[in-house]
């Protein structure tokens, strides 16, 4: 896990005016080892963007003093490679398209799961800053994100697409209790009625757990009854 953490010394700016949400996001990402700065108004965000370079900016659209969308050109002027995730309470396609057209990389609608934001953030960071390179390591496991292959002591462990997706999700959200609905939404998207999918989540999870267990003889995924699952490495 150590290798993994070191590659992820990611610099993140969170632009969000809602104090409780900001507190949660900053708290969670800091605990994951990111450097997180926070701006709660348009003006403070603009100032920070002018003065520093970030790997990823998480941008709420409705801010006191202006629309988060207007900050996008400034961010890209500072560094074209900076990843931008737009947050919106509006779930409006118009906002989404506008954000993406202006140069945002991803879009997330409130209410979202912190784990989902974390997964998106990480995916963006890999794609833009690491250019998809850099293996992820934990214990004797190695994940090559480019070829989407999991190795244990250089020996490939066959994973289905969903198991692979699930493993990455858990690694990004390691040491955190993740609920079934959050996992289902990550895998099947939020349009699908998730209640159908909990059994399927369980099946994928059990298979993944078995494969990791067979290789390393260690249980990585803990079930917390009534709460969800927790990945520890």
């Amino acid at each position: 896990m150590k290798n993994y953490v070191r590659t992820l010394k990611m610099k993140v700016l969170l632009v969000e005016d809602e104090p409780v949400l900001a507190d949660e996001i900053v708290g969670y990402f800091s605990s994951q080892g990111f450097l997180v700065e926070h701006a709660d108004t348009y003006a403070t965000a603009a100032e920070k963007i002018d003065n520093y370079t970030y790997d990823v900016v998480i941008l709420d659209i409705t801010l006191p003093g202006g629309s988060g969308i207007e900050l996008i050109p400034g961010i890209l002027k500072q560094n074209v490679e900076t990843g931008i995730i737009v947050l919106s309470a509006k779930n409006s396609l118009h906002d989404k398209l506008q954000g993406l057209n202006r140069g945002a990389d991803d879009y997330l609608t409130k209410p979202f799961y912190l784990e989902e934001l974390s997964a998106r953030l990480y995916a963006l960071f890999r794609r833009k800053m690491l250019k998809g390179t850099g293996n992820i390591r934990f214990d004797n496991f190695t994940i090559d994100p480019q070829s989407k292959v999991l190795l244990f002591n250089d020996e490939e462990i066959m994973l289905t697409k969903k198991e692979y997706q699930l493993l990455l999700y858990f690694i990004v959200n390691r040491n955190r209790v993740v609920s079934k609905p959050a996992i289902a939404e990550h895998i099947w998207g939020d349009h699908v009625d998730q209640s159908n999918n909990f059994d399927a989540v369980y099946v994928h999870l059990t298979n993944l757990r078995k494969k990791l267990n067979n290789a390393a003889n260690k249980d990585y995924i803990k079930t917390l009854y009534g709460m969800g699952y927790k990945f520890t490495a």
Binding site: T109, P111, E115, P181, D190, D193
Partner: protein
């Protein structure tokens, strides 16, 4: 009863009464005048006969009878009589004047007669004329009404059809056909302002529900992240149970709220991402996403997907297909037959199952759901219908052979409702 029939009937009754009155009037006037004329003629004839007798000429005219008598037997008396017509071999009505007169010191009883067309004949003729007139009036009236209904009422009926198809939820402007009839124009003006008003109210309501949903998003986000944070803490078992309940309810609340927000948007937003897209690819995508969920329930999904493209919003199409497939997944017992087919005209979803526990009409309304599928939020199918409406598609539901069938008609002219 049609307005036209009603007015025609009134018109008919009035014409009948007027015709009857004039018929009686005509007959009696005619009878009076003709009788007077005949009497004049008979009197004249009488005078002429008298004159002949005075001159001492023998009187031997047809239809005249002169009888000398001893004393004056009668004053002038008009009366009817019947004479045999040898030519036609029928009895005919005659009118006669009988009068005793003293001529050259002698009394004569002089009777002069003339035939007159029987009043029965007159009555028959007049009645016939009036009946013919009545029939002609009815026929002409019907024809005129038919023409009027074709021409004058046409805008009225086309407008009525337009109003029938009008929905405040659709963003189409109501355009009514103009008419040169004042009353219809007034009605049009009233209908237009009514539709405008209804649409404004509806829009206001939609905006309200959209704003309300927006306002809920942030508190829901906060509650969710806080509950997730609580989940990270070591908790007594009791608290875990409570927390689980709270999170499940919150997930549900969040889904309902997102659904309502989407519905509100669907009714009045434009969808700028509409583009020519492959429906088949979208369908295959969603199927492959959900395939394992079907398999895990032992459900085999038959697929007949032809290559079809349409101008649509990929975002909405994805939601629509996911909802329809989720709906099948939720409401189908294991090992029931399921199929999805797509061709250029329609998209059909079929699944075997029990009949609906509620009326078909409410299937697409909000919060109507099968009790057995409590897990759903009850908005899926109304969202599907709204998405169809945005794309000017039509969705129909039917239940035959123990199979639920949802059909999305992709081409406007195929709507069975308007066929």
């Amino acid at each position: 009863m049609k307005l036209l029939t009603k007015t025609s009937l009134h018109y008919l009754w009035v014409s009948m009464s007027l015709l009857s009155i004039t018929c009686v009037l005509l007959f009696s006037l005619l009878k009076r005048d003709v009788s007077a004329e005949i009497e004049e003629q008979l009197e004249l004839q009488h005078d002429m006969v008298t004159a002949e007798i005075q001159k001492g000429n023998p009187v031997n005219f047809p239809l005249v009878m002169v009888k000398p008598e001893k004393s004056k037997s009668t004053d002038a008396v008009f009366s009817d009589t019947v004479m045999h017509d040898a030519r036609q071999n029928v009895s005919e009505d005659y009118y006669m004047l009988t009068q005793s007169k003293l001529i050259n010191g002698k009394y004569y009883r002089i009777t002069v007669m003339t035939t007159y067309i029987g009043w029965n004949e007159y009555l028959k003729a007049i009645t016939t004329i009036f009946i013919v007139l009545a029939v002609l009036l009815i026929v002409a009236g019907t024809v005129v009404n038919y023409l009027i209904s074709r021409k004058v009422w046409k805008p009225f009926f086309t407008n009525m059809q337009l109003l029938k198809n009008f929905s405040v939820a659709k963003n189409e402007e109501l355009v009514l056909t103009k008419s040169n009839i004042n009353e219809f124009e007034e009605l049009n003006a009233v209908m237009l302002s009514f539709a405008d008003h209804a649409r404004k109210e509806y829009k206001g309501l939609q905006e309200f529900s959209e704003n309300a949903s927006h306002e809920l998003q942030t508190p829901i986000s906060i509650i969710r992240t806080r509950l997730d944070s609580i989940s990270q803490l070591p908790l007594p078992n009791e608290a875990v149970g409570y927390l689980g309940d709270a999170k499940r309810s919150l997930t549900r609340l969040s889904k309902v709220n997102k659904g309502l927000l989407l519905l509100a948007k669907l009714t009045h937003d434009s969808f700028p991402d509409q583009q020519e897209m492959s429906l088949s690819a979208a369908l295959n995508d969603v199927i492959s996403q959900l395939e394992e969920l079907f398999l895990s329930r032992g459900l085999q999904l038959q697929q007949h997907v032809a290559e079809v493209s349409a101008k649509a919003s990929p975002h909405l199409v994805n939601i629509m297909l996911s909802n329809l497939l989720s709906n099948m997944l939720k409401n189908t017992r294991p090992d029931a037959a399921l199929s999805v087919s797509l061709n250029a005209d329609k998209l059909i979803f079929k699944n075997e199952g029990e009949p609906l526990p509620f009326a078909e009409e409410v299937l697409f309304t909000r919060f109507k759901k099968n009790k057995k599928a409590q897990s759903g939020i009850g908005l899926g199918l109304s969202i599907v219908r709204q998405i169809c409406q945005v794309h000017q598609w039509d969705i129909q539901y039917s239940y035959t052979n123990q199979t639920h069938i949802f059909t999305v008609y992709l081409k406007a002219d195929q709507y069975p409702a308007f066929a």
